[in-house]
């Protein structure tokens, strides 16, 4: 169907406006990072610095242990996502496929856990980690992030498994697979797009956490995550926003890389063709 000119103009204008709203904060982050510190608050604002400070990134990498922080963030995210995916795949699959007494209530309970704000769990988690001697260790942040991620990923995966025809695993079982074999040999490979999207979501949740890292890792400088590290760059009296912005860009890059790596799975329609 061919749209009229005003309709097309409206459509394009909406797309441009939406993109502008989404991209502007990133653009401003880059402008802030590249500007001289004394040019940040000038009026009227400059939309591109006269002399971009490209050296700021090298300076940050020299002065701050950005790679250590990034490594810690990656370790926390990968650990939390691994635990979450193992638990969520089995839980989501069970909720999707098996009708057991109390199964629905259990599913709703998990859904309720999703609604609790993360900060609500900080105190009980702190108590548990102190008792188990995990305060300051990477395990504290990995486990804490897993509690945050699992309710989301379980429901995301349950929804995804619901869309996969049951006949696929039935065919696998007739072909000689055990129920668990059917899950691993057929359902999980078919679920690659869903698994990728879910893992990415969990990764971003973990990567963007600040509250848990601040609570559990403050006294363990060697285990600081990127978000926690960046906040230490803000001084009590002086804050170098240009440097903080540059560090923020460096911290955001890995997420972009992960997204680019998983992108083909995210948009793939791998189940197309399995049935009618």
């Amino acid at each position: 169907m061919r749209q009229s000119l005003p309709a097309r103009l409206f459509l394009y204008a909406s797309v441009v406006l939406t993109c502008a709203v989404l991209i502007f904060p990133i653009y401003w982050l880059v402008v802030t990072a590249l500007s001289q510190p004394d040019q940040l608050r000038q009026l009227p604002p400059k939309f591109w610095p006269d002399e971009p400070r490209w050296s700021v990134f090298g300076k940050i990498l020299e002065e701050r242990p950005i790679f250590l922080w990034l490594g810690n963030s990656a370790l926390a995210a990968l650990g939390a996502v691994t635990i979450s995916m193992v638990v969520s795949v089995l839980a989501g699959y069970s909720l999707s496929r098996f009708r057991v007494r109390g199964g629905q209530s259990l599913g709703l309970f998990i859904l309720t856990a999703k609604m609790l704000p993360a900060t609500l769990l900080v105190i009980p988690l702190f108590g548990i980690f102190r008792m188990t001697g995990l305060i300051g260790s990477m395990w504290s942040i990995i486990l804490a992030h897993a509690t945050l991620i699992i309710p989301f990923t379980t429901w995301m995966l349950k929804g995804y498994f619901d869309t996969i025809p049951r006949e696929l695993e039935q065919a696998a079982m007739v072909d000689g697979c055990s129920p668990l074999g059917a899950l691993f040999r057929v359902i999980l490979p078919v679920s690659a797009p869903g698994l990728a999207a879910t893992a990415l979501y969990g990764f971003v949740l973990s990567w963007s956490d600040y509250a848990y890292a601040r609570t559990f890792l403050t006294n363990a400088q060697g285990n600081w995550t990127a978000n926690l590290g960046i906040t230490t760059m803000k001084g009590e009296y002086i804050s170098n926003w240009a440097d903080i912005s540059a560090a923020s860009i460096l911290v955001a890059l890995p997420i972009l890389v992960v997204y680019l790596f998983l992108e083909r799975y995210l948009v793939g329609g791998l189940t197309a063709g399995s049935d009618k």
Partner: protein, 365 residues
């Protein structure tokens, strides 16, 4: 190849009984079709046979072996699903060889058997493709290939043609029939389509509400239906039903005295197939005024009202599957011109009548 003995299999979900004492003895190499309306329990029976659902009671023996409590993969059966259920992440060849791989068959044997099955089904050129790159008919062939490559004791087919268009369905029906002739593997085929049942089966099992209504070969099923349900289910268009009162071996239909079996006494339901009504005078002749004429070229369907004395029983008028109400249908071949509203002479042979007890629905012979 194997004989399959299903003995008093039951399936209940709490108080809901979806399968009631289902017993069936299937001979080695036989093609048995389970047919019935939606919710009659035919697919449940097939899944129990495959081991995908657990029976609430009863036993199943395949090739003399009690498989009632065995896992699906240990029953030596292969299944073809309604929606094909091909593994989308695997190539056609890998799909077909999956079952053999699961059983630890050497790779060279898998390749040889996949090639052989692909040749039989004419899908050799598709072996490296993925299911999403295939048409509906090709997917169905691959699904069949996945079943035959295993050389199982029995094939179970769950409405395998219902996702295909009408033309392809007729073609694949013939192909499955030919495949069965060629391989001679015991096959249990589930469908709601009575034409598939009639054309493919050695024996048909008609089911309703979890119970077997009749087990017979297609001809017997058509000629000697055991009850009103079977009589109405088999045949297209469905059998005409008329109410009558029998006494001393006769009844009155269309105002004429008609002989009925001696067992018929009192109120009866008479069944007369549309194809058993002929144009022109015959053994029992009557006049009809067509309210609708459907011409299919070589044959015509004539719709006309039943006489007041023989109005079809109320419960049949209300049937969801038969919306014809009190109208009867005659299927006439080479009848010449027939016009709506103009009287036409029709007749039938009383030997073709089916008589049923309206209370129990059972045939009276």
């Amino acid at each position: 190849m194997a004989r399959i003995v299903i003995d008093q299999v039951r399936k209940s979900y709490g108080a809901l009984h979806v399968l009631k004492d289902f017993s069936l003895d299937i001979a080695d190499g036989e093609f048995v079709v389970l047919v019935g309306p939606s919710g009659c329990g035919k697919s449940t029976m097939l899944k129990i046979l495959a081991g995908l659902e657990e029976a609430s009671g009863g036993t199943i023996r395949i090739g003399g072996r009690d498989v009632t409590d065995l896992a699906p993969g240990d029953r030596d059966i292969a299944m073809v699903f309604q929606n094909y259920a091909l593994y989308p992440h695997l190539t056609v060849a890998a799909n077909m060889g999956f079952g053999l791989k699961m059983r630890g068959t050497p790779a060279d044997v898998i390749t040889r058997r996949v090639q052989e099955a692909a040749r039989i089904l004419d899908v050799e050129h598709l072996l490296e493709r993925r299911p999403r790159q295939l048409s509906g008919g090709q997917r169905q062939r691959v699904a069949l290939g996945r079943a035959i490559v295993r050389e199982p004791a029995a094939f179970l087919m769950d409405e395998p043609l219902s996702n295909l268009d009408a033309k392809l369905r007729v073609h694949m029906r013939a192909e499955i029939g030919a495949l069965h002739q060629r391989l001679g593997v015991t096959t249990i085929y589930v469908t709601h389509d009575q034409i598939e049942a009639m054309t493919m089966a050695n024996r048909i099992v008609i089911m309703k509400d979890g119970e077997i209504q009749q087990i017979a070969d297609p001809e017997t099923m058509f000629e000697r239906p055991a009850n009103l349900f079977v009589a109405g289910f088999i045949g297209s268009p469905g059998m005409n039903f008329l109410s009558a009162r029998a006494q001393g071996g006769t009844t009155r239909l269309f105002g004429e005295a008609v002989p009925v079996p001696p067992g018929a006494d009192g109120d009866v339901t008479i069944g007369l197939r549309p194809e058993h009504i002929e144009a022109g005078p015959g053994a029992v002749t009557f006049m009809a005024r067509p309210s609708l004429v459907e011409s299919l070229g070589s044959e015509k369907y004539i719709y006309f009202e039943a006489p007041d004395d023989n109005r079809p029983p109320g419960f049949l008028k209300q049937s969801e599957e038969d919306q014809r109400g009190s109208r009867l249908i005659a299927r006439l071949v080479n009848a010449g011109p027939v016009r709506i509203g103009e009287n036409v002479t029709l007749s039938f042979d009383p030997a073709r009548l089916h008589v049923f007890d309206p209370a129990t629905g059972k045939a009276i012979r």
